[in-house]
Amino acid sequence: MTMPLPAPENTEISRPYWDALKLGRLVFQRCECGHAWLPARRGCPSCLGDKVQWEQACGKGRLVSWVVYHTAYHDAFKHRLPYNVAIVELTEGPRLITNMVDSHERLACDAAVELRVESDEGIALARFALSPRRDDEQGTGSPARRNRA
């Protein structure tokens, strides 16, 4: 029998995040000082205030980096090998750990991505897909020499 996916802890602080994902919405926290972040915290790590609101992300972002697992550190992932884990930066600023739904060969750092909420073994997860390329866009093939991320 396959082990189930390790479920998120779902605390009082993080419940709004996971509840929103179940409805297909990715949310993040923003402080009245303007700072925005993930994952959920009780207070703002920038101004240390506690006037914190949830805000819905537009779902667009950028692929910062990704890795491909060829070994499983948990039995739930043995039959998924090779699988990827990625870092995405949302347009609004917060970053998160995620999976890209595309084939690994197509992934590129700094590629534009968009939200694809998926239910996996009953857990709603914020995954991402490469955005369809527009004809007027420059390719992302050549490495940026700037230290952007």
Partner: protein, 374 residues
């Protein structure tokens, strides 16, 4: 403070697989050997500073080790900062001695993940485990991917680091992995968490090591045979986990080295030999860049053609480092730095005036730098 304090003695246990050995007994054995190397009795030790075992945190661990050593120190305890903690504790000891809080400090570390529990290295990373986000290695793979993208770093550049450490460890009778590595073997080695290959990754090892720190004046009074002066040290922490950092390709090595070089009145070109924390090969490339041995993004070219091997422009990890000697996080590098300055290393670099040692912890969360020299 420059050169007023010394590493008076070094000691270690066997490295590799040591079944049946608990971390406290490994710490005691390493401390016994370090005291013997310093030529002193434990009765003069009044500080015992310990890096917590990575694989097995224990409540009041620092007191348990001191008890096993039969020492009631004025200052003592355990510090949790990942691999940076060894150099951090040496610098804390020096500052404490300078402030009159203690005279002679033992700094030690031991762990037994190879015969014990290595789960910490494959640990789930919080709620993101639901996405499959596990292990220490994967965080470094994220960083390596980004470095390859931004600077054109190639597998051969990372391979050069692994080859240097494996070459230097091959003749070290204490080393856990004594087989040298060719570029062809490196490039064909299994992908673990892509782009990381197996040969990019530190060993998993049992073992312990310890150093004795005191003032140069005290070392003279006690007749310590081969004290090695500490010229400078420095620290930096990003604190942010890898996915939250604005830059994945610059590290806290920048701030740590700036402080250490400033304290010592030295610059990178003064360094004769370096022991650089090689938990993963990408760490060495980024440390070389952030220490200023080459410009940002150019470490791949810097390490090509044997420049970091013995006989090269900047030999590193002359006893094999974490990739060959032992996966122990960092203390082996400090001990080899001491041997290079003493002139007693197995692969001795001629006329060493300055040896640099780096330690870092977590996923490049923490960094500390030590400059040793004559």
């Amino acid at each position: 403070m420059r050169a007023r304090y010394v590493v008076a003695g070094i000691g270690h246990t066997a490295f590799g697989k040591l079944p049946g050995r608990d971390t406290i007994s490994l710490n005691v054995e390493a401390c016994r050997n370090a005291l013997a190397d310093a030529g002193i009795d434990k009765s003069v030790v009044d500080a015992v500073l310990i890096k917590v075992p990575t694989s097995a945190h224990q409540f009041m661990y620092g007191q348990k080790v001191a008890e096993a050593l039969g020492i009631k120190p004025r200052m003592g305890g355990a510090w949790d900062q990942g691999g940076a903690a060894n150099i951090t504790l040496i610098s804390f000891a020096i500052m404490a001695i300078d402030a009159g809080q203690c005279d002679v400090a033992l700094i030690c570390y031991a762990d037994n993940p190879r015969s014990g529990n290595r789960a910490v290295y494959g640990r789930p990373r919080g709620d993101d485990a639901a996405y499959g986000w596990f292990s220490t290695a994967a965080g470094y793979a994220m960083i390596q991917r980004r470095h390859m993208y931004e600077f054109g770093t190639r597998p051969e550049h990372l391979g050069a680091v692994a080859i240097a450490s494996r070459r230097h460890g091959a003749g070290n009778p204490n080393a856990q992995l004594r087989s040298p590595l060719t570029m062809e073997q490196y490039l064909n080695s299994a992908l673990l968490v892509e782009p990381l290959r197996r040969d990019d990754c530190a060993l998993v090892s049992d073992g312990g090591a310890a150093v004795v720190v005191m003032s140069a004046k005290r070392a003279r009074a006690l007749g310590v045979p081969a004290p090695v002066p500490v010229l400078g040290f420095g620290h930096g922490q990003t604190s942010y986990d890898v996915q939250f950092r604005q830059s994945l390709t610059s590290t806290e090595a920048v701030r740590a080295a700036r402080t250490a070089f400033s304290m010592a009145g030295l610059k990178p070109s003064d360094v004769d030999v370096a022991q650089l924390y090689d938990c993963f090969t990408i760490t060495v490339l980024m440390t070389l860049e952030d220490y200023g041995f080459c410009s940002k993004g150019q470490a791949g070219d810097f390490v090509a053609d044997g420049a970091i091997e013995i006989g090269g422009a900047l030999p590193i990890n002359t006893s094999g480092g974490l990739l060959s000697e032992t996966g122990m996080p960092g203390m082996q590098l400090i001990m080899e730095g001491v041997r290079q300055v003493r002139g007693s290393a197995r692969l001795q670099v001629p006329n060493v005036k300055v040896c640099l040692v780096s330690n870092q912890g977590g996923t490049m969360h923490t960094h500390s730098t030590l400059l040793l020299g004559a």
